[in-house]
């Protein structure tokens, strides 16, 4: 278990001035060679790039299956279970948006349909207590059926129009379940704003999945199967036809690719996956509540796919891990202040370390540290003592001399810091070269201040805004997402 497969010794060096690889334009190869570095990080990145996809999946599963053995129940629930759930949801959405290029904003409704179907058939709502092996296929079929209906009505719609129609479906679903709540058999069908409580745990052939660990392994199996299925789907003729359709629907049409049928197929595929996720989610939460299927959830699922890179299966996993862990980690209830601080600064230093050439990260980090002491000294010299007398939450003593942390109330200081950070992040992302390096110094310092003054004390909604700024920064620097491939434009 401790040994992780897929990370053996680094691969042998290919001959140094290897002629451009087959399938790579010489210009592209040249550019790649320029961006080439050394060191363990780069080796690891290259190992990742060169290993075949099944090996990557295997490595992920092996790593993921060790997680329950070194985390506690609570952490496994918020970090492990929900990361896998988002990964599964992302995989389904990736088919619709990433493979087939259809902007489906009603995806979360299919998720909800799965959850509510499970709630109707496995709870005290109507006294039906069907086992999961029966309800899951029914829920998937129900979601797929709605997918077919929507796909049929929307098959001629492109881009924005499709987005509007599907967004409407998503909103209609939330209203239907939360507000309309039609009376069926003497009872509100969907339980209104309170939803349907007390669902049965997932039960397969008499075997109940109740503990977080059981659910985690069940989800891990589901995600692995999904990823494998999608891998083969992507390699298939249908998968390639989806990509062709995404690139140029008209050209696909005149190649006699059945465009409409493939669109509907993608819709149905995504809907069924979302339905499956819905049943599992409902069982985990032991309730189905309409607000859990609102646009904010849709945005998170989209963020997972966008961050990882549209069309990339491995990207979905990376996106799910980064996004779920970041969100959970910024949650105020979740307290490990010391670990959080290490993770926070560690991530920042790691990201900065990726800058090339090597002296840039050193300069930026040294600059930030110096900048902090200077700012602190100036503030301490020019203002009242209360401005700098604060102490960081369980932090090292030098932090108090580096970061400006006021005690007591100082008007809207925190809010200004916050807005300043968002502006700084956006500015930094839009600058180039050395200007970006210079702008990074105050941005990093502001990040640290926001962290010490706000996020360690109260996260909540501010976490979402910070998260948004991070996404904007990433997308500006790397529009194709972390693992997506840059689009090749035909001129």
């Amino acid at each position: 278990m401790s040994e992780t497969p897929g990370i053996p010794a680094p691969p042998e060096e290919p001959s140094e001035e290897q002629a451009s690889r087959i399938g790579v334009d010489s210009w592209v190869a040249e550019t790649e060679r320029h961006g080439r570095g050394r060191g363990p990080l780069w080796q690891l990145a290259r190992l990742w790039e060169y290993s075949p996809d099944p090996v990557k999946l295997l490595a992920f599963v092996a790593l993921a299956s060790t997680v329950p053995f070194w985390t506690n129940e609570g952490d496994l629930f918020v970090f492990g279970l929900f990361t896998l759930l988002y990964a599964a949801l992302g995989l389904g959405l990736n088919v619709v948006v990433g493979f087939a290029g259809l902007l489906d904003l009603g995806y979360v409704a299919f998720f909800g349909i799965g959850a509510y179907t499970y709630a109707e058939l496995s709870s005290s709502q109507y006294g039906i207590h069907w086992p999961a092996e029966a309800t899951i296929p029914i829920a998937m079929a129900a979601a797929a059926l709605v997918g077919v209906v929507l796909g049929f009505s929307a098959r001629r719609l492109l881009g924005d129009y499709l987005a509007i129609v599907t967004l409407f479906l998503g909103q209609a679903f939330v209203f239907f379940t939360g507000v309309a709540n039609p009376t069926v058999a003497g009872k509100g069908l969907t339980g209104g704003a309170n939803g349907i409580p007390q669902l049965d745990p997932l039960t397969f052939f008499g075997y109940q999945l109740t503990s977080t660990k059981q659910l985690y392994f069940f989800l891990l199996i589901v995600v692995t199967l999904l990823a494998t299925a999608l891998y083969f789907a992507n390699q298939s003729r249908t998968g390639r036809a989806w990509r062709a359709l995404r690139e140029d629907p008209l050209a696909a049409e005149v190649m006699s690719i059945p465009v409409n049928r493939l669109k509907i197929l993608a819709f149905v595929f995504g809907a069924a996956v979302a339905g499956l996720c819905g049943t599992i989610y409902a069982a985990i939460e032991t309730a189905a509540v309409s607000t859990n299927f609102s646009v904010s959830v849709l945005i998170i699922i989209y963020a997972v796919v966008i961050l990882g890179g549209f069309g990339s299966i491995a990207g979905v996993f990376v996106g799910a891990i980064v996004i779920n862990c970041t969100l959970e980690f910024l949650e105020p209830q979740n307290d490990h202040p010391e670990v959080k601080r290490w993770l926070f600064y560690g991530t920042i230093v790691l990201l900065i370390a990726l800058l090339k050439p090597w002296f840039r990260p050193v300069l930026v980090l040294a600059g930030t540290i110096a900048f902090g002491f200077v700012v602190h000294a100036i503030v301490a010299a020019t203002t009242a003592a209360s401005w700098t007398s604060g102490v960081p939450v369980s932090g090292a003593s030098w932090l108090a001399r580096w970061a400006v942390i006021p005690t007591g109330s100082h008007g809207n200081f925190n809010n200004y810091l916050y807005i300043g950070l968002v502006v700084a992040v956006v500015c930094t992302a839009s600058l180039k070269g050395w200007w970006r390096m210079i702008a990074l110094v105050p941005t990093l310092y502001l990040t640290a201040l926001v962290w010490e003054n706000m996020l360690t004390q109260n996260g909540g909604i501010t976490a979402f805004i910070l998260f948004g700024a991070m996404l904007i920064g990433l997308m500006t620097v790397r529009p194709q997402g972390l693992l997506g491939t840059a689009r090749v434009e035909i001129v």
């Binding site: 003729r237 690139e247 696909a252 006699s256 090749v488």
Partner: protein
């Protein structure tokens, strides 16, 4: 003498149907009357070019043939069968293929995958289909794992033609093959067209470049604002006074 020949072919009812026949086709975009009573024929194995300036209805003719737009009046017949109300994919299944304007390759897909998409109706293409295309364009075999979007313009033209040929067409439509190519590549491109034609595929080429296309074509049509203004053997059109003034510039 040539004139006598034309009248002979026109008068004598052909034993088999022409491969493609447009019979007094009227096509509209909304209220705008684009094609006005267009009659056009392509015999099997023939290379026909359709000339015309901008907005003369050349591309609309191709769209009508493929069924991307429906004519309001008139019929489109392929091998004697009326396909006017049939879908695009039905017509492609019958043996029409197109090399679209600007090639429209699937850029982030490899050459191989592009070819495979061309043979979508034939389950991704048999080995002999690939062989046929690779024999015609040896370069594509060499570059089959390269992303189509990274190829040069001339190479992309080969992929586009190869992709269309994968569907084993009996009629190949080409929309402005010379567009966006350097003069030397235009010549090369038409050599390839000639080569493909000699392999037994009938072709309808839509072009603005009258000089080059007439030099390899059997027959030609000239469109102007949706009407046929001239038709005849290519050699004759090359000598035609009006056409020379309008297109050939000499």
């Amino acid at each position: 003498m040539t004139e006598a020949e034309i009248t002979a072919t026109e008068k004598a009812a052909p034993p088999a149907h022409p491969l493609l026949k447009l019979d007094s086709v009227d096509t509209y975009y909304g209220q705008i009357h684009i094609l006005q009573g267009l009659n056009l024929e392509v015999q099997s194995g023939e290379l026909v070019c359709l000339l015309g300036g901008n907005a003369s209805g050349k591309s609309t003719t191709l769209k009508t043939i493929l069924g991307i737009v429906q004519p309001r009046n008139g019929t489109v017949q392929f091998e004697g069968e009326d396909v006017t109300s049939r879908s695009t994919s039905y017509r492609i299944g019958k043996g029409i293929a197109i090399v679209p304007e600007n090639r429209r390759l699937f850029g982030p897909m490899t050459v191989l995958e592009n070819l495979e998409m061309g043979a979508y109706l034939h389950a991704g293409g048999a080995k002999e289909d690939f062989d046929r295309v690779y024999t015609l364009f040896p370069l594509l075999h060499e570059r089959r794992r390269q992303l189509a979007g990274t190829l040069s313009g001339g190479e992309q033209q080969m992929v586009a033609m190869g992709r269309a040929l994968m569907a084993k067409p009996r009629l190949l439509l080409m929309d402005e093959p010379s567009m966006g190519l350097a003069p030397i590549l235009v010549e090369r491109s038409f050599e390839i067209i000639k080569q493909v034609h000699e392999s037994g595929v009938a072709m309808l080429i839509v072009e603005q470049n009258a000089n080059v296309s007439l030099s390899i074509a059997d027959r030609g049509y000239v469109l102007s604002t949706g009407r046929l203004v001239l038709e005849g053997p290519a050699a004759e059109l090359r000598e035609h006074e009006d056409l020379r003034k309008a297109y050939l510039g000499r």
